[in-house]
């Protein structure tokens, strides 16, 4: 028995045809753009449709409601990051892999800082199927490659904190206007590797040169 009155949050139709897929993409782009530029207060189905250049009726053909659009946006962004993170994690040396992953996170958050922050908040409200667990799993695997667990912080917690630290630093950088990517990357490396060295002192972790 399905939960009865739960509003529909899944997209309404699989975009089978190319035309449809494009419409979906246009809507999501418009939604992202509004959220990013004008904030949540301007984020209405009508404005999204108008900006997307489709009628409000069309929008509702593809999404059962406003929240469904937000969720699709969250998942789209999530998937994008997960893929990049996954690729970065394939680098042989675990430290290099970690650096590459941090780089991905930095770039992502720098790219659309306002969007990323709003989606984060909506994520906690809507609780969609979360891409964060995938990221954590990948990160955890990378950490396991080398870090001894001779500490009372398990790998999962280490992974969680690394993500948290990265997000904290990038978010704040985003609030300030002019941060160079190189600068940000260096600080992230300090923060992440510094944390790991403290939290897991038995293993030697060397600073990465950036």
């Amino acid at each position: 028995m399905p939960s009865p009155r739960k509003k529909q949050l899944q997209p309404r139709k699989r975009p089978a045809q190319a035309r449809s897929a494009e419409t979906v993409a246009v809507i999501l782009a418009a939604a992202a753009h509004i959220l990013e530029r004008d904030g949540y207060s301007q984020y209405s189905t009508n404005t999204i449709a108008k900006r997307a250049g489709v009628s409000i009726g069309s929008l509702y053909q593809y999404f059962p409601g406003k929240d469904a659009i937000t969720i699709a946006l969250i998942q789209q962004e999530g998937t994008r990051v997960v893929r990049a993170i996954e690729e970065a994690s394939l680098i042989g040396n675990w430290q290099d892999a970690l650096i590459a992953m941090i780089d991905v996170a930095a770039r992502h958050q720098i790219a659309r800082p306002a969007l990323a922050r709003i989606l984060d908040l909506e994520e906690s409200r809507l609780q969609p199927e979360n891409s964060k667990v995938e990221i954590l799993a990948i990160l955890e695997a990378v950490l396991k490659r080398r870090l001894s667990n001779a500490t009372h912080l398990c790998h999962r917690t280490l992974a969680v904190d690394v993500v948290a630290i990265t997000r904290g630093v990038t978010d704040m950088a985003a609030e300030q206007d002019d941060v160079s990517l190189d600068d940000l990357r260096h600080r992230l490396d300090c923060a992440v590797f510094g944390y790991l060295a403290r939290a897991c002192p038995t293993c030697a972790v060397f600073p990465a040169e950036t």
Copy 2:
């Protein structure tokens, strides 16, 4: 971009009389409570007034609009934290001071996680006079007590990152349900002191026992 029709965001009247100050406080308490328990969707002027036990008209006597309430809330919370941070910074040993300050931040975010996150987001939208600058100043002063500046990261940046790291870790902890304060504090210490050790290697920074 011109700024026509900038809405009034400052409180309408300095609460000169005790009665007025109390009304303002009641309204803010109601606003905080609603934001915390029901989220932004229930955060309406009518709801706030009802919960505060004042008429909607009275609410508008003290605040020129909804956003003004939010800003007052942000500033109230900010002031509260600033005071606690200030007090903690008075501890003689700089490391102990830093630990105490971290403790304040952790407690604050743990205390009302939902409220803190929503206010953070609104802060970036409304851009009120920011209490963060004060916190940064205090933190910078503490760091200057001991940390050599023999690094290409200036003290201000160090301070910013410490705040960022702290917020990142506490925010994520808030998203998960059951985090003990002790656990959180330990991880924050690792993150902060680990970062400082990396970013500023010439000075010996020793881990704090918690």
Copy 3:
């Protein structure tokens, strides 16, 4: 535990002040007028508000939704009829009482035929607290005054059928344009007393002269 997702159908505020009571009355009058003249398809909250000369917001101050207006209308009409029926039932001679009650029904349905029919249908959809049970009770009491029960149709059924017959005849009369009240009354008397004579043959029921 109250039924959780049932929409609010009771009026939102008791019209304590004279001003409010008047507003409620104006809204109901407008609603009745629209239903009567334009039918259900034009029966929207916005049109009701416009016709009533109040804002849509005011309308929602007094009624939690569209259906609540309809129900209030049903109950208002119901109460009006019940009162008249009650008064008629007080006539000493039971046949005269019955004739008077029929007269009330005829006048009521003739007065606003379209309105009465639409409200009947909505009544079956919304199932509000029904004034019909009161009417049936009164009618049953009148029938019990004289009619022997030596038949397999109990008094309640007799009452139900009398109401049904009355409604059927008046409804159809309403569909045709020009029916004199006297003519209608005579036919109703024939139908009701004829039915009773058949259904309850042991008691002598004499035709009423009209």
Copy 4:
């Protein structure tokens, strides 16, 4: 009042081919089913088309609009009843014929009470070519077979009232859940023959045994 923009209400095409006729039938069946089971609020062209298994485009090939479907439904039901009534009227003895006709009406209304009531209302709104006139004509003919006209109610009026009474009683029976067909028939006989006896006292009308 001029009648500009009178919408097309007649079916768009005579279903010349068998395939077309079948499609029309399928659509009408779907419409009836939805109206009956879910009420008018779910009665939308899209829903009908989906349930009928045809595209919304096809639906509009056969009907010029939503109301046209409703009218077709009304006429279909009407025709069905007229045929049955016609057949019943062929019975030699006029009383038996009348009883059989009442039986038809009872069965029809009992069979799909919700549908019948909604269609009745729509009938008064849309005012299609009415099948009721045919029923009245048949009924009038039956009554003329035996009833003297020595009364101030003409045959037509008698016929109208018989129909009205029948509809009133069956409608109310439909509102209550559990009515046996036999019970209903008996009460209808009482009502109809009782009425006739009163309205037309010079002719002896005897009760029918059921």
